[in-house]
């Protein structure tokens, strides 16, 4: 188990620019500066909100944390696994049921299938487990993503950073409360939750601190 306040992820002077390579210049691609010289860190036991307007680069920061983007400059160093939880709901298969989709993810990740049903039960999807993904409602889909986050975090005994991209989309009040409980549990076990959101004020995820991304600069924000 990770100790509270242990450094889990650190970003130093990271910049993200698209269209800055020699190939881009050759192909006359426009330069897009997302952000520059950004520093932040995530400690064990923290639930951190990341706010900012549309297109400010919140999702890009999460993608950098997950390793899906490489920074143009600077360094981002995770000291534990980083799980991209909510906001990553596309890797499900239309023809598979909710249960089969979760089982696929668990097989894919080398996890035991005995946790499929408890995970579905935890997010209130046990009765809907035979519904194919293509027929599932937005709320069901959001809950299945949450179930996947549960098992992915437990795989690492909650010593991990969970990334959530606008989790308020698709989840009802009960779903948000469930997510809040997941967040609390992760923080209690020494993990961290990093959430890009427009609704930090609602604070269902019990944010301990916040950052604001505006005009390419990241600053500490009041919650």
């Amino acid at each position: 188990m990770a100790r509270k306040n242990e450094l889990l992820l650190q970003a130093r002077e990271i910049s993200l620019l698209f269209g800055a390579t020699w190939l881009d210049r050759l192909l006359r691609r426009p330069l897009k500066r997302v952000f520059q010289g950004v520093n932040f860190e995530l400690l064990g036991g923290e639930s951190v909100a990341l706010t900012g307007g549309n297109g400010s680069g919140k999702s890009s920061i999460l993608r950098l944390c997950a390793g899906l983007y490489l920074p143009t400059a600077g360094q981002i160093t995770p000291f534990c696994p980083v799980i991209w939880g909510i906001g990553n709901d596309r890797c499900f298969y239309e023809r598979l049921t909710l249960e089969e989709n979760l089982a696929f993810f668990m097989r894919f990740s080398g996890l035991s299938l005995k946790n499929v049903q408890p995970a579905l039960e935890r997010v209130g999807l046990l009765d809907a487990r035979a519904v194919p993904w293509r027929e599932a409602s937005t709320g069901m889909r959001a809950r299945l993503v949450m179930a996947r986050s549960f098992v992915a975090m437990e795989q690492h005994r909650n010593r991990a950073v969970l990334l959530l991209d606008e989790p308020e989309r698709g989840l009802d009040a009960a779903g948000m409360q469930l997510l809040g409980e997941l967040g609390d549990r992760i923080c209690a076990m020494g993990g961290a939750v990093f959430t890009a959101t427009h609704l930090a004020a609602l604070n269902t995820l019990h944010f301990t601190r916040g950052y604001r991304l505006q005009e390419g600069a990241l600053t500490e924000a009041e919650l």
Partner: protein
């Protein structure tokens, strides 16, 4: 890796079985090509020229051509097709967040397509036997080794295609060119010897030409590797060059996609 592959095979089985019409359509198409070969071979029965007569008859020759091309198609387009589908669905970026490396994802997807292609190949072989295909029954280890060598020489092309698709979104023009040239030059319907000299030279650059020569020699004539040393060495050389090139391309293309932030784009 094994668990990932099993998960993909199970996913593919559920998905394929939910489209039963397409499943049976492909079965009919596969059977049709075997029967076409049989009728075509009957037209020339007893009149086979020298290079074909050494393989028994024209039907034997054709069936092995068809089998290799089915296999080549699954190898060339397996990873490419799957990576492209993941890009279009938008799920490539999502899986990349969970998969330790994209190379493993490409590799597992490529293998799952290749394993799924075994059943039409078995169907082709089974129907072939029913219609008179005869193969040499000795030297099982040699035959297995020959299949593995052909796979090792062909597989880098598929991995390379998958990697290229990752970064540049399309690689099927190249795969289609290789497949088209293989149909034309590798000796699928006719021996390579009937081609003009300059085209024969081009044919020897294709791994399928050597793979067909090796498989037909070992399975139909019962040759050993010494008798087929030219093809064996060509396949060894193509594997030795192909694998490092393919794996290097995966690394570079993965980096390009992450640097340009295009994993989620198509």
């Amino acid at each position: 890796m094994g668990a990932m592959l099993l998960a993909m095979l199970r996913r593919d089985w559920i998905t394929q079985w939910s489209y039963r019409g397409a499943f049976f359509g492909r079965t009919i198409a596969c059977a049709s090509s075997v029967f076409s070969s049989w009728f075509l071979a009957n037209c020339f029965s007893g009149y086979e020229p020298e290079p074909i007569a050494t393989y028994g008859n024209y039907f034997n020759f054709l069936i092995f051509g068809l089998l290799l091309m089915q296999w080549t198609q699954s190898i060339l387009f397996g990873a490419t097709g799957r990576i492209r589908a993941l890009q279009v669905e938008g799920s490539l970026e999502s899986w990349a967040a969970y998969c330790p490396s994209l190379g493993r994802l490409i590799w597992a997807e490529a293998l799952s397509v290749q394993l799924a292609s075994i059943w039409p190949m078995m169907l082709t072989l089974g129907l072939g036997f029913a219609l008179g295909l005869s193969i040499d029954s000795s030297g099982v280890a040699l035959k297995l080794g020959s299949v593995l060598l052909c796979w090792a020489a062909l597989c880098p092309l598929g991995i390379w295609g998958g990697a290229f698709t990752l970064a540049f979104k399309r690689s099927d023009p190249l795969g289609r060119a290789v497949l088209g040239l293989s149909w034309l030059l590798s000796g699928v319907f006719y021996p390579v010897e009937v081609l003009p000299k300059w085209l024969t030279l081009l044919a020897y650059f294709l791994p399928t030409t050597h793979a067909l020569d090796l498989l037909r020699g070992v399975f139909l004539r019962g040759d050993d590797w010494a008798a087929l040393s030219g093809s064996v060495w060509a396949l060894v050389l193509l594997s030795a060059i192909g694998w490092p090139l393919a794996l290097g391309t995966v690394r570079i293309c993965d980096r390009i996609a992450r640097r340009y932030g295009t994993l989620g784009q198509y």
